[in-house]
């Protein structure tokens, strides 16, 4: 390895320089009509890379996730867990069920490159803001309709979210121990977040196509189908003609593998993929005998169920005789996959993640300091960034209506009186923190001019 490689990479990825670098999606306007997690995450992903994302909510109600914190723990009158779903967006509140509200949304859609919604199939069409209506005024629009079961097929009208998508896709049935009757869901709304990023990927395909041809299109983004795309179990079923079922902590594609308890009562994960890795493991365990006989040097042989289980038990005993710290050092030294089982607190305070920029301590003008996740991918020239945290309901009404739609103060006040547009009510999750002087906020009271 060239000696200066890491000083070169450190320079091109310097997290201190992120805010000064270019934004790849600058100039792309996204109208985010979605709520909860699945849709908002797709829009957040585009916002991270510089798109101007306008999130539309129902006045005096807002996105249901505004109030949905864990364990009743609010933070500065907001839901801290809403920030990594919706940061860096513009927050407007428009009532789609009033004709003037519908018109406002259509005007925004006309000036947008991308529209994202995640209501049950047919809902936005019935409201008059669906793809068939928007494409008439904006034929180049990329309109992403996100739903659990998709826009066609017999189950299209079934509502759903993460939990239901996990159940309907087969994902729920494959985790845990085979001899138990308890099925654990994949936590943290994986079934919303992963499909949300997948939707972002489909939108980028559409943007790249439009960049080349000028054509817009409609995307039927199906949550359960996206979860199915990540499982090899269907192909396995078609080839093996039997269900793979659950395999507990053994990853059946790696042998040996498992999650094991150490002498000092910690947990580590270990999974051997290749033949050289297995050799290293045997050396580290001082068990050269394991390489003898019946082709154990070959992954294909080690993966056979009886061998996979036997090796799992060998590693289990070895791990039980060592402390976590020693094991991690052995894994590093002998270069086979071994890692700690980390929890929320360890991830939050992991120095490597802070240095890398995948866990970020953000200092926000309204909410001050909060730790939240950074992007999955680090880009050397156009990195993702956090511009601001979430904002109270309707916070950017004036900014968006004046700057993008050219409405006057008088017109906005009339819309407010008719309750076509609106703001927060008393509920936590919607309103600004008590210490914050919203009346002096130049964005909330936007008069014109400056970009924010």
């Amino acid at each position: 390895m060239a000696a200066d490689y890491f000083s070169f990479t450190q320079k091109i990825f310097d997290p201190g320089k992120v805010q000064q670098k270019a934004e790849a999606l600058k100039g792309i306007r996204v109208l985010d009509l979605s709520h909860m997690i699945f849709g908002p995450v797709a829009a957040k992903f585009l916002a991270q890379f510089g798109a101007e994302v306008i999130k539309v909510e129902v006045p005096y109600q807002g996105d249901h996730w505004r109030g949905a914190t864990y364990w009743g723990k609010y933070w500065k009158h907001s839901n801290p867990l809403w920030n990594f779903i919706n940061h860096s967006k513009y927050f407007v509140a428009i009532d789609v069920k009033r004709p003037k509200g519908k018109d406002l949304i259509l005007k925004l859609a006309e000036k947008s490159d991308v529209v994202i919604e995640n209501f049950t199939s047919g809902t936005v069409e019935a409201w008059g803001i669906g793809y068939t209506q928007v494409r008439k005024m904006n034929p180049k629009v990329i309109y992403a309709g996100l739903s659990t079961f998709g826009q066609f097929g017999p189950n299209r009208f079934f509502p759903g979210w993460d939990l239901l998508a996990q159940g309907a896709s087969g994902m729920l049935s494959i985790s845990g121990h085979p001899e138990t009757d308890r099925y654990f869901k994949i936590p943290d709304f994986y079934g919303d977040f992963l499909p949300g990023f997948f939707a972002g990927m489909m939108i980028l395909f559409a943007l790249l196509h439009r960049q080349r041809t000028g054509e817009g299109q409609y995307l039927d983004v199906c949550q359960a189908e996206i979860l199915m795309r990540g499982l090899f179990h269907f192909t396995h079923q078609s080839v093996a003609k039997e269900e793979l079922g659950r395999t507990g902590n053994i990853d059946p594609t790696m042998s040996p593998s498992g999650i094991f308890k150490t002498r000092d009562q910690k947990f580590v994960a270990l999974a051997i993929g290749t033949d050289p890795q297995f050799k290293s493991l045997c050396k580290a365990m001082n068990r050269p005998d394991l390489l003898d006989g019946e082709g154990m040097k070959k992954a294909a042989v080690r993966l056979k169920p009886e061998n996979a289980r036997r090796l799992h038990d060998v590693v289990k005993d070895w791990v039980r005789s060592q402390d976590e710290k020693e094991l991690l050092e052995v894994g590093r030294k002998f270069a086979f996959p071994l890692s700690p089982v980390m929890d929320d607190l360890q991830i939050c305070h992991d120095p490597w993640r802070r240095e890398r920029g995948s866990v970020v301590l953000h200092d926000d003008e309204m909410y001050k300091k909060l730790v939240l996740s950074g992007p999955m991918a680090m880009l050397s020239k156009t990195p993702a960034r956090i511009k601001w945290l979430t904002r109270p309901l309707g916070y950017h009404n004036r900014y968006v209506f004046k700057k993008i739609l050219g409405l006057s103060e008088k017109q906005i006040q009339d819309l407010e009186k008719e309750r076509v547009v609106g703001y927060w009510d008393y509920r936590v999750g919607q309103r600004p923190p008590v210490y914050y002087d919203i009346e002096r906020d130049p964005i909330f009271n936007y008069k014109g001019g400056e970009d924010h």
Binding site: F6, T9, H64, Y70, P80, L81, A126, G130, T132, Q133, F152, P159, L163, L164, S175, Y183, F184, I186, Y190, L194, F197, G200, M202, F205, L208, Q211, T213, D220, E225, M228, L231, F234, T235, A240, E243, L244, P252, T253, K261, V268, A269, G273, T274, A299, K304, R332, A335, S339, V341, M342, L345, I347, C348, E355, V371, S373, M376, A377, M378, T382
Partner: protein
């Protein structure tokens, strides 16, 4: 009642949606895009390049002569003619060639490809390709527009990345380091090992890493098409899952303690999960108070309403409290069949939707299906969510596909999975130099 005229709108929509799944005559989003996939023993890389291939890019997977070890990574070794199940599933629309990057001639061949490529994906230890003269620094000189995607456990920068640079990829270790198994598993009072951290039963971290890599690469490709400038895209698989779901860092900061394993309970809502019924497992998921009230009415548990009325009564930080409510739901659901629950819920939802009273709640449910049952489902058959492949070498098998786009749908055009299967095509098309004629003899050998 729908307003007059809205019927017409719906029919325009119906017409549009009926035409949506058609592939015929539709272009592909990434026509004229060349992607090189050098991933080695790393399914995150392999999956990332699959998405490019589904969208129409020419994807060339480069392997050493003995093949990528990922070919063998398959459930309990299950394979078709030496090719494992996950590898076969991800071999859609790709070209498979062999190059020996330790040989000068093949490094020149790689450079020859890089000059024409837009994207390269590699998963070697950081610095390894650089020391061979074909890393980001050197390739970007040849092709300033190149998007260079690197996937490794700890990334290509930071001190830890340097110290752990030789650590290989595995999905299970990526899951563990991303905080996933710490949250799956039974309650602390359950016996060992059921209360241990538990693995998600599929490549949960690998899939997140792949989507993270592909989305990052596409953002870079979009910028490249605007400005001509390429860049490096760095993914850390030990971290991608945590960045995808986002909960662990913020929970750690605000709550100042980690969440314990919660068994089949939920951290945010109760009841929220799958409950055992007479013939399977059924979802009972109450998000809002009105959904909870609806579920109680349907299940004949209205007497519980007073004690558990609002979301604040059902906050799940007191585990013994929510266990009590959860257990009552468990006991009741156990007396029904899935069909009974489904019909009760559906009838209630239809009634509530028609009612002028908005507080009716929307109880929704579904049955937990196994992959086998999913394959038999009429809904996914209509949506063509699975494609049956009939391959001359690998026989008949099924693969999942999604990505229904009205103009540029994702698609599967062919499967090519043998080592060096496309050497001849690729070497000729891109003018690469052969070692000798017997390189072609490697085709089809396992």
């Amino acid at each position: 009642m729908q307003k007059r005229g809205s019927g017409k709108k719906i029919s325009e929509w119906s017409q549009f949606i009926a035409d949506l799944p058609t592939l015929e005559g539709k272009p592909e989003a990434l026509e004229n895009t060349l992607v090189l996939d050098l991933s080695y023993a790393n399914f995150a890389g392999i999956m990332a390049s699959s998405f490019f291939a589904e969208a129409g890019a020419e994807v060339i997977k480069v392997e050493p002569a003995e093949g990528d070890p990922a070919r063998v990574m398959s459930p309990f070794g299950m394979n078709v003619k030496g090719v494992g199940v996950p590898f076969l599933m991800e071999s859609r629309n790709k070209r498979h060639i062999t190059l020996d990057l330790n040989e000068e001639r093949d490094r020149e061949n790689l450079k020859q490809l890089v000059v024409k490529a837009q994207v390269i994906i590699e998963t070697f230890p950081p610095g390894e390709l650089d020391s061979l003269g074909v890393g980001y620094r050197q390739l970007t000189e040849l092709n300033p527009g190149l998007v260079y995607v690197a996937i490794t456990p700890y990334g290509h920068y930071t001190d830890k990345a340097k110290e752990f640079r030789k650590m290989p990829w595995a999905d299970l270790t990526s899951q563990a380091e991303s905080g996933l198994p710490a949250l799956i598993g039974d309650l602390a009072d359950a016996p060992e090992p059921y209360n241990w951290p538990t693995r998600a039963g599929f490549y949960a971290a690998g899939y997140a890493t792949a989507v993270g890599a592909a989305t990052g690469a596409l953002v870079a490709l979009f910028y490249q098409r605007l400005t001509g400038e390429g860049q490096m895209v760095d993914i850390a698989s030990a971290d991608a899952y945590a960045s995808c779901v986002g909960f662990p860092p913020t929970i750690g900061y605000v709550w100042k303690k980690p969440r314990p394993r919660y068994g089949t309970l939920d951290y945010g809502l109760c009841p929220y999960g799958f409950f055992k019924c007479q013939d399977g497992y059924v979802a009972i998921a109450c998000f809002r108070d009105q959904d909870f009230r609806a579920a109680l009415k349907i299940l004949g548990l209205w007497k519980l309403e007073e004690d558990w009325r609002s979301l604040l009564d059902r906050i799940t930080d007191d585990i013994n409290k929510v266990k009590e409510l959860n257990q009552k739901i468990e006991e009741t659901v156990a007396g029904y069949t899935y069909q009974e629950i489904f019909e009760k819920f559906s009838a209630y939802s239809v009634k509530a939707a028609r009612s002028k009273w908005k507080g009716g709640g929307l109880p929704v449910t579904t049955k937990m299906l196994t992959p086998k049952e999913v394959l038999e489902s009429e809904h996914w058959r209509v949506r063509k969510s699975f494609e049956a492949i009939n391959h001359p070498t690998f026989g008949i098998f099924t693969v999942p596909l999604t990505g229904k786009m009205s103009r540029t749908p994702l698609r599967i055009k062919w499967v090519s999975a043998q080592i060096g299967e496309d050497n001849e095509y690729v070497f000729k098309k891109y003018g690469l130099k052969k070692e000798s004629e017997d390189r072609r003899g490697e085709r089809g050998e396992q």
